[in-house]
């Protein structure tokens, strides 16, 4: 599994489509994205990470960089999103962080 992370609107999808030569249709079939939003509703994060890691490409947006939210629900959601990313990175063969459209491989190497 290739795990792609990075800030909001950083060009994560464009990057992986370009790197692997994927059309939008292929991308939609082979990737799952915005997985940070799945974390909030999931009581069992390792199970979610296991399920996601069976996909080929998993994309999460970094959301932990701002001030800790005062709202308990938002706070828990942000915490879960960060934990899920760590679990996904553990399970991934390759981890790439995309910032300003530029990739940086944090783990493994890209199959291309």
């Amino acid at each position: 599994m290739i795990f792609i992370t990075g800030p909001l609107l950083a060009g994560k999808q464009s990057y992986i489509c370009g790197a692997l030569g994927l059309s939008l249709d292929e991308f939609a079939r082979r990737a799952v994205w915005d997985v940070q939003d799945l974390a909030a509703r999931e009581p069992d994060l390792p199970a979610l990470a296991d399920a996601l890691s069976r996909r080929e490409i998993v994309i999460a947006t970094e959301v932990g960089g701002g001030v800790v939210p005062t709202d308990p629900e938002e706070r828990a959601a942000r915490e879960a999103a960060g934990r899920l990313s760590c679990l996904l990175a553990e399970r991934a063969d390759t981890v790439v962080r995309v910032c300003c459209g530029l990739p940086q491989v944090l783990k493994g190497r890209l199959p291309c």
């Binding site: 800030p7 909001l8 609107l9 950083a10 060009g11 947006t61 970094e62 959301v63 932990g64 960089g65 701002g66 001030v67 939210p69 938002e74 942000r78 910032c99 300003c100 459209g101 530029l102 940086q104």
Partner: protein, 171 residues
């Protein structure tokens, strides 16, 4: 040559950008884009002026339409920062939107010996914003990606230290 520098607030990106420009020989121009709206802005500007003191920068203030700015050719220009400039072009009555930012940077790059642009990473704190803020983020993100693609070097500053995403530091 064109270098883009990004980083979160108070990550040390200004200090790094200045030290990067100081390694370049020749005339140095600091292009400031923050409008001195209030006391806090003025304080921030004063702090930055103090940081630059004695480093041989000529300060030029310009809030919109960089393409129409007549800077001396062949200088090392440090522009700070893209977050302010983008807000000015989007929200000022005389602003020209995101297009004006890109036009302005292209004109500056053509005129400068080495252009260094500081931008702002405001994209790691979630997406729970109102529509207008999201529009601003979309425009700034597009500009960041376009400039990163054009740049010879891109550095993300973390705790004052550069993480080069493209190219490397000037020798």
């Amino acid at each position: 040559m064109f270098t883009l520098i990004t980083g979160g607030s108070a990550s040390g990106k200004s200090e790094y950008a200045e030290s990067h420009v100081l390694r370049l020989p020749g005339r140095r121009i600091y292009l400031a884009t923050m409008r001195p709206w209030d006391q806090e802005c003025r304080g921030r500007i004063a702090r930055h002026r103090l940081l630059r003191r004695g480093k041989g920068f000529e300060t030029v203030e310009r809030y919109t339409d960089l393409a129409g700015l007549e800077l001396p050719a062949g200088a090392n220009v440090l522009l700070e920062c893209l977050g302010n400039l983008t807000a000015n072009e989007l929200y000022d009555p005389e602003g020209g939107g995101g297009e004006a930012v890109l036009r302005g940077i292209a004109a500056l790059a053509a005129r400068s010996l080495h252009l260094t642009v500081v931008t702002n990473d405001v994209f790691s704190g979630g997406a729970s914003y109102d529509a207008d803020t999201l529009r601003y983020l979309r425009v700034l993100a597009e500009i960041n990606r376009a400039l990163a693609a054009q740049a010879d070097a891109v550095a993300e500053i973390v705790c004052g230290l550069p993480n080069y995403l493209k190219g490397g530091p000037v020798p």
